[in-house]
Structure formats: C-alpha cells, structure tokens
Amino acid sequence: MLQPLLNSTTLPLLKQVAKFAERRQDVLAGNIANIDTPGYRMRDLPVGEFQDALQSAIAARRATPSAGLTSESLLLPASPTSSTELMQELFPDSLFRADSPREQDHITFQDANNRSVEHQFLMMTKNSLMQQFALEVMRGQFEQLQTVISERL
C-alpha cells in the first residue's frame, strides 16, 4: 500500500546512491588493503557512468511527474515490481561492479602497483559524504511521511 507513496519521491534514487557509495567503499577498502601488494592495480567503480545514469533517471522522473501520486494510484493495488524493474533498467548491475577495473592514472611503481594513498582517501571521503548526504535526505523524507501519518507536527 505504501509502495506508490514511497516510489513517488526521490527515495528510489537515493537508495541507488547509498548502494553505490557502499559498494564503492568496498572496492576502495580493497585498494587500501592491497596498498603494498606487488602487481595490484587500483580498482574503482564506474563513477562517471553512475552519475550519468542518475542524471537521466532524474530527468526521466521530471518528465513524467504523474507516474507518482494520483488518488487512483493510491487506491489501486500496488505494483511493486514496476518501479524495481525501472530502477534495474536505469541502474544496471554493471554500475556496481568493479570487474573491469578502471585503470587509474597514477605512477606505476617498480612492483607494478599504481598506489596513491592520497587519491584513495580523497575518493573515500567524497564517497562517504555522498552516502551521508543521501541518507540524510532519505531521513528527512521519512520524517515527513511520519508527520503525515501521525497528522501532527
């Protein structure tokens, strides 16, 4: 029943942002763990592609505002799959995979490792801020819903 209510906001997009940030932290932690491993190449998720996907998802959402809440859609039995499928289409699994390691443009050391601690931590900090931003906005929306449900401020 809540599905149309939840899907009409930016929550599905924020979920993707948080998911991406968590997956990316995983890969970046792996880079730091392998900072001294000979032959290891620094990996990353396709950040640019994800941002593009996010942008087009936002654009698609703006273009069809009626896709969300109407009084009918609230009364109709929810179709929870449609939104999940749409998200699956907009954000394919390949965006969350590091199996084609992005080559990072850093000096390769004699042991064939292209480590750069500073760069890794810079990306990690940015990534963590992005995740916290997404979660804070999500929290705000949940609080709004709570207010609506309890009908008092």
Partner: protein, 136 residues
Amino acid sequence: MLRTLEISASGLAAQRLRMDTIAGNIAHSHTTMDETGKKSPFQRRMVVLQSQSPGETGHRGVGVSATVETDTATVPRKIHDPSHPHADADGYVTYPNINVITEFVNALEATRAYEANVSTMQVTRSMIDSTFRLIG
C-alpha cells in the same frame, strides 16, 4: 558493508605480520647459531603479500593475504673477527643477511599502511553508523 570491514581487517593482519617479521629480523640481526645449537646464521624472513582470490565476489573489493617466506637471495654478511667462537678458518664470522636500516624503513612502511587501513575502517564505520541511524 560489514564485509568491507573484513577487507580492511585483512590489510591490518597482513601489515601486523610484516611488523612481526621485521621485529624478528631486527632481533636476530646478529644471531650466528640456530635453535639446535648448530653454527648457522639466521635467515632473513620476509612477508609476501598477495591479493586474495576474488572468487564469486570478484567484482567487489578484494582483501589481501600474507605469507612468511625466507630470504635466500641476499648473501650473508661476513665480518673479520677471529676471536669470535663462530669464526671460520680464515677468521670470518658469518652474520645473518639482515640490514637493520632496510628493516627499519620497511617497518615505517608497514606502520603507515596499517594506519591507512585503520583510517579506512573509521570511514566505513561512520558510513555504517549513518545507515543505522536511518532506522532509529
């Protein structure tokens, strides 16, 4: 997310093993006899790091594994000291193939790498914390 902590933990374990090995090398930098009492200099140990096999989660981050191996490539140091009980016929004592300066530099490197893994864990923790705050 909790798996991310495990990756950092593998890095911590690997760097700690390196530190252990370095400490052993420095402690044995002048050992000329093995544990059985035989006249044989200590062999330098070194840690070999390898990224863990990605397995089915190969598209995610990978941890690191470490193994201790013996350094047989570096030649032992020979110092002329005929008064030493372990000196050979020419008066040379064979000391382990350990250069204390190299060991100290490696120790610094291991310390910094350890710290980097700890910092990563702190970032991961703050991310987990903010995820949990969504619930409460």
